[in-house]
C-alpha cells in the first residue's frame, strides 16, 4: 500500500542571491513496510528530501501526499501536529533532549500527545526493551554511547506509532560495529513489526542492508533499484 507519494518535487534555497536547487523535479512513491536507503554524495539533496517528506520543510513546487494528506494544505502549526502523530524522525546526532533520561525522552513525545501516564510508562518500557536498553532507562544522554543514543532516538521515533520513520544518516557518527548493530535493530523492527524505514546514508555497508536503494545526484534521482535478497 502506498503511503507517501511525491510529484515533481522541487526545492530551491536562496542564500545571498545565490540559488541552490537541493531537490529537483523528483517523483517517487513509497509503500508501507519498505526498508529504503537514500544514497548519494554529500550535497546531493538527501537531507532536503527527507525534510520535505517529513513536513519539516516546504517544497518550492510539486506535491507531497502522505497517508492521503496533501502537506501543502497544512498550516505550520498543523504540520507540527502532523509530525508529532505521523512521522518518526531520527537525525544524525544529538537527537535527545539532554536534560531528560532515556525513558523520559521517549515519554516526552507521548506527553506532547497528552497520553495518560500509565500508557506512557508501558510503551516506554516496551520500546526500551525493543531497542535493547531496558537497563539504561534512567541514564541521561550524556551517559550513553553514540550507538545507544541513536537506539533511544529510534525508540522515541517509534513512540507515537508513526506510519514511517525517517532517519537522516543515523549511523554517520557511529563506529562500524555500532552502525551494524543499529541497522540490525532497525531491520528487525521492520521485519517483525512491519515498520517502514526510509534512511539516508553514504556508508556502503549500511546501504547493503536496504531492500530498495534510491541514488540521488544534484537533487535528481539517478537510480531507483529494488535489491533482491
Amino acid at each position: 500500500m502506498e503511503i507517501i507519494s511525491l510529484k515533481n518535487l522541487t526545492k530551491t534555497y536562496r542564500e545571498d542571491s545565490i540559488e541552490v536547487t537541493a531537490v529537483s523535479d523528483i517523483t517517487l512513491s513509497f509503500a508501507e513496510g519498505e526498508f529504503t536507503a537514500i544514497v548519494g554524495p554529500s550535497g546531493s539533496g538527501k537531507t532536503t528530501l527527507l525534510n520535505l517528506i517529513g513536513g519539516l520543510d516546504a517544497p518550492t513546487s510539486g506535491e507531497i501526499v502522505v497517508n492521503g494528506t496533501n502537506l501543502a494544505r497544512l498550516s505550520s502549526s498543523q504540520l507540527t501536529d502532523f509530525r508529532l502523530w505521523n512521522v518518526g524522525f531520527v537525525f544524525q546526532a544529538y537527537n535527545l533532549i539532554p536534560v531528560l533520561t532515556a525513558r523520559e525522552n521517549i515519554e516526552f513525545i507521548m506527553h506532547l500527545q497528552n497520553k495518560p501516564v500509565h500508557e506512557r510508562r508501558k510503551r516506554a518500557s516496551e520500546l526500551l526493551q525493543a531497542v535493547g536498553l531496558a537497563d539504561r532507562a534512567k541514564s541521561r544522554p550524556s551517559k550513553l554511547s553514540g550507538g545507544q543514543q541513536q537506539r533511544v532516538a529510534v525508540a522515541r521515533a517509534l513512540a507515537p506509532r508513526p506510519r514511517f520513520i525517517l532517519a537522516d544518516e543515523p549511523t554517520a557518527n557511529l563506529d562500524s560495529h555500532s552502525a551494524e548493530n543499529l541497522l540490525e535493530m532497525m531491520e528487525k523492527l521492520n521485519r517483525e513489526e512491519n515498520i517502514t524505514f526510509i534512511f539516508s546514508t553514504h556508508d556502503p555497508r549500511v546501504m547493503k542492508k536496504a531492500r530498495r536503494i534510491i541514488t540521488l545526484e544534484d537533487g535528481k534521482v539517478l537510480r531507483d533499484e529494488q535489491m533482491h535478497k
Binding site: 537531507t47 525534510n51 517529513g54 519539516l56 520543510d57 502549526s77 507540527t80 501536529d81 509530525r83 508529532l84 502523530w85 512521522v87 524522525f89 537525525f91 544529538y94 537527537n95 533532549i97 539532554p98 536534560v99 531528560l100 516526552f108 513525545i109 506527553h111 506532547l112 522515541r156 521515533a157 507515537p160
Partner: protein, 406 residues
Amino acid sequence: MKEYLKMAWRNLGRNRRRTAITTASVLFAVFFATVEQSFHLGIWHNLLENVLHSYTGYLQIHASGYQENKNFDYTFPWNEDTEKALHVSKDIKALIPRLESFALASSGERTKPVIVAGIDPGKEYGFSHLPEKLAQGKMLEPEDQGALLSRRLAEYLKLKVGDTLLMISQGYAGTSAAGIFPVRGIVRLPAPEWDNQMVYLTLPTARQFYSAENMLTTLVVDLRNPSTLEKTAGKLSHTLGSHFEVLTWKQMLTELYQQYISDVGSGYILLGLLYLIIGFGIFGTLMMMLNERRYELGVMTAVGMKKRKIAVLISTEVVLLAFLGILLGIAAALPVMLWFHHHPVTLSGTMAKTMEIYGMEPEIPALLEPGFIFKQGIAVLLLTFMALVWPVISVFRLSPVKALRR
C-alpha cells in the same frame, strides 16, 4: 506544567555558573532595592509620624470649602451621635474635634495676631505629642477656662504662667468676641511658625469665646496604620457626602508633600536604573541560552513540539530563575531590615540637630512593611517578562531546518 518545571529546573542546572551569576545579580538588586527603600521610606515614615502627630494629622474633615477660606462660614455642628456614625472603618483609631480660628492677642503694650485652637484635652493629648512639649505650668484640664501658650508667643507678649491673656476677635455669625484667659501653661512647639502664634483653649471655652455653640471647624482623623490613608479618606468622603471635605496631609501640607514626592521619586530613579541593568542581564542570559540551544530547539520542533510550548518552557526557566533571585534577595534583606528596625541608625551632626529642633528622635528606623517588599518582587517579575519578549519572538521565528543544519 509539572513536566515543564522539571525540564526548566534541570536546564538551569546545565550551566550552573551562568545560573548562579544571573541569580546573584537579581538577588543583589532585590537586596539593595529593598534595603534602600526600607531606609528611605523609613526616614519619611518617621518624619511624617512626628510632624503629623504634632498637629495636622494624616487626615482631616471640614465643612466643604474650609480649606480655602478658613472662617466661621465653614463650621459644622457636632455631637457624640454623629461621631459614632463616623466610625465607618476599623482603620480609624480616634476622631479629634477642634474649633480653630484667629484672634488678636494682647497683654500690656503688646499685641499679636494668633491662631486659636479649641481642643478636647483628653482626645488631643491622646493624639498629639503636645503634653511632652510642656515647658512651664500645666496642661489644660477638660473644663478649663484658661489658655495654653506657645513659648515664643508668651515671650513676645511677656506673659508668664498665672498672668492673664486678653483676646479679641470676630465670632460666629458676625458677633464680636472678647475674653480674658488665665495662662495655665507654656509649650515649646518645634516649628517656629507654630511657636510664634499658638493659643490653646478647651473646646467649651473656645466655643463660648466665639459664640459658636456645638460647632467645629476641624475633625482630625487618627489612623491605626498610615498605609490605609487613601482608603479611609475615600470611605469617609463617601459616607459624608458633598457637605464635607475630607483632606489628607498631602492636600493640606502641600510643600511637605512636594518634598516627599521628589525625594522618594529620586530613590525610584536610582532603583529604575538598577533594575534596567538587571533586566539587560536577564535578557543577555536568555539570548545566550537560546543560541546554545538552537539545535536542540530545532529537534524539539521537528519531533512535534509546538512553538508555543517551547516558549512556555523557556519562560518557565527564566521566571524560575527570577523567583529564585527574588526570594533569596528578600531573604537576605529581611535580617538587615529587622535589625535596623529594632536598632535604628543614630544620626549625629547637623542632621541630628535639625531633627531635635523639630522634636524628633535623631534616628532612622528601617521600615518593615510587606507592601514595598512585595513591590520589589513584582518589579523584577515585570522586567523578566519584558526581557522575555524578544526571545519568545525569536523562538516563534526559529526555522527547524536551519537550526538542524549545523
